[in-house]
């Protein structure tokens, strides 16, 4: 859920803003290594893509609905730093322009939905990639698990903020069970869509998937024997 204005108290919104600013600063430094002139538009495309995916709401349980977060997908496609920046841009545009998620809660939304999802999701991808056979197709199951866990992790981060600065007085246990419960289900949907998207991109254009870069073979030039 995009946190609206007034849901988390002002001091903690500032804390969220500080965490988000530091996180985005780190990502801006890191993204310089990931991006070159050719990949800058790729980052924009990933942001547009995540934006389009976030518009697909699917019903979860009890009349609530969830939508994809896209953090793991973005991290796998363009790298963790740039991925987090892509989701940050999406959240900023949604808050300022589409009124989805509060302007003062933007720091909290960036922390939970851009930073936590990419750190957790991509961390798991890197971990699993080391365990799985060294070929590009291994990224697909890794992305599945990464996405699966990143969504409840994001919900957990939200509950953390709520515990420290929630304004609504609901019991913490109830919020924890409801948020994490719903987001385990959202995580399954996220995992399926992330894995199938990454799967089809890996099959057709593995060069567009950042997470497969470690498998790239250096270009080998073989010379034929010159006839004397």
């Amino acid at each position: 859920m995009h946190v609206p204005d007034g849901f988390i108290d002002a001091p903690l919104s500032v804390v969220g803003g500080v965490i988000a600013t530091v996180g985005v600063g780190v990502c801006l430094r890191g993204a310089r290594r990931e991006l070159d002139e050719k990949t800058a538009p790729l980052a924009g495309l990933v942001a547009a893509f995540v934006f389009a995916l976030q518009m697909l709401n699917f019903p979860v349980a009890l009349g609530t609905s969830g939508h994809l977060l896209g953090g793991t997908l973005a991290a796998v496609l363009v790298g963790p730093y740039t991925g987090a920046l892509c989701v940050t841009v999406v959240l900023t545009v949604q808050a300022l322009f589409f009124a989805d998620g509060g302007t003062t809660a933007l720091g909290i939304n960036i922390t939970t939905m851009a930073i936590v999802t990419t750190v957790v999701g991509y961390g798991i991808v890197v971990l699993l990639r080391a365990l799985l056979p060294a070929r590009p197709a291994s990224v697909v199951p890794a992305a599945f698990v990464g996405a699966l866990i990143s969504v409840p992790a994001s919900a957990l981060a939200f509950v953390g903020f709520y515990a420290l600065g929630g304004t609504t007085g609901l019991s913490l246990g109830g919020v924890l069970v409801a948020m994490v419960g719903v987001h385990v289900l959202v995580g399954i949907g996220e995992a399926v869509i992330t894995a199938l998207t990454v799967g089809s991109v890996v099959t057709v254009r593995p060069d567009l998937v950042y997470a497969t870069r470690s498998y790239e073979q250096p270009l080998e030039i073989r010379h034929t024997e010159q006839a004397a």
């Binding site: 859920m1 609206p4 204005d5 007034g6 849901f7 002002a10 919104s13 985005v24 801006l28 993204a31 991006l35 800058a40 538009p41 790729l42 980052a43 924009g44 495309l45 942001a47 547009a48 893509f49 934006f51 389009a52 995916l53 009349g63 609530t64 609905s65 496609l77 920046l85 892509c86 940050t88 841009v89 900023t92 545009v93 808050a95 300022l96 322009f97 589409f98 009124a99 989805d100 509060g102 302007t103 003062t104 304004t167 609504t168 007085g169 609901l170 019991s171 109830g174 949907g189 399926v192 869509i193 199938l196 998207t197 990454v198 799967g199 089809s200 991109v201 057709v204 254009r205 567009l208």
Partner: protein
């Protein structure tokens, strides 16, 4: 976002608010919402002042009330959440129309709805009076990091590409008799998402090369002189000033 590309959120009017430089409007919205959020618990009159202030902005920007009301549908998820609060919150109970409700829950729900709705309306007014391209320029002038501005520029540019391809693929699926009914169909939708990505990337690559060949260097070209004068900043400051004064008064009279 060149001329001729009009975003569906933008209302093309000639008004005082439309003419304000985008950086002033963004700063005003952020400050206004911050003031609203810091309103103390227990005083209700400030919200009336905020609503009047936003109403004045809407009138000055010639944004009709039905448009604002229609766009407020975005806040449905947290309205639903607010409805649950009086039933789920602990604390002393009161009777309202025969229902036993939590008093603190009722108060929390009211505050959440008031603050959340004001934030939503402020964003709606910004979007209705500012073109996406100007929003980018405004953020650039407010010193948002260049890389973020660049990603955002491409995002706005590619949203149309993504939505166009998405629509084309949906028509293709449906003309072959596809109708998403149960969970098993998720696979088809997700595979379309993969194909969508590759098709968009390949189109996006051509768009980018076309931009580079026309001299794109990564920064947005500034066509009109959109620097902001002191007078414009003073006018944009009216809304947040009213809000800040109201919040301060509310804290003082608490």
């Amino acid at each position: 976002m060149s001329a001729g590309h009009h975003h569906h959120l933008y209302l093309d009017r000639a008004s005082l608010i439309h003419r304000l430089p985008p950086q002033c409007k963004i700063a005003a919205v952020v400050l206004f919402v911050t003031a609203v959020v810091t309103t103390p618990r227990g005083s209700w009159w400030p919200y009336a002042v905020y609503v009047l202030a936003l109403g004045a902005v809407a009138a000055a920007g010639r944004v009709p009330a039905p448009t604002i009301l229609r766009r407020m549908i975005i806040e449905t998820p947290f309205v639903l959440f607010a409805v649950i609060l009086p039933f789920a919150s602990p604390g002393p109970k009161t009777d309202v129309l025969g229902l036993t409700l939590s008093a603190t829950g009722l108060e929390s729900a009211g505050i959440l709805l008031a603050k959340g709705t004001l934030g939503v309306v402020a964003s709606i007014l910004l979007a209705a009076t500012t073109q996406p391209r100007d929003l980018l320029l405004g953020l650039q002038r407010l010193h948002m990091p260049q890389l973020l501005v660049q990603i955002m520029t491409f995002m706005f540019r590619y949203i149309e590409v993504v939505l166009g391809e998405m629509n084309r693929m949906r028509v293709a699926r449906e003309s072959r008799g596809f109708d998403a009914r149960h969970v098993g169909h998720l696979k088809v939708v997700a595979q379309s998402a993969g194909a969508l990505f590759i098709r968009c990337y390949e189109r996006g690559e051509r768009v980018h090369l076309a931009m580079l060949s026309r001299g794109y260097t990564g920064r947005l070209p500034v066509f009109a002189d959109a620097r902001s004068s002191t007078g414009q900043w003073a006018m944009a400051a009216l809304l947040p000033l009213v809000a800040v004064a109201t919040t301060v008064a509310a804290w003082a009279t608490l």
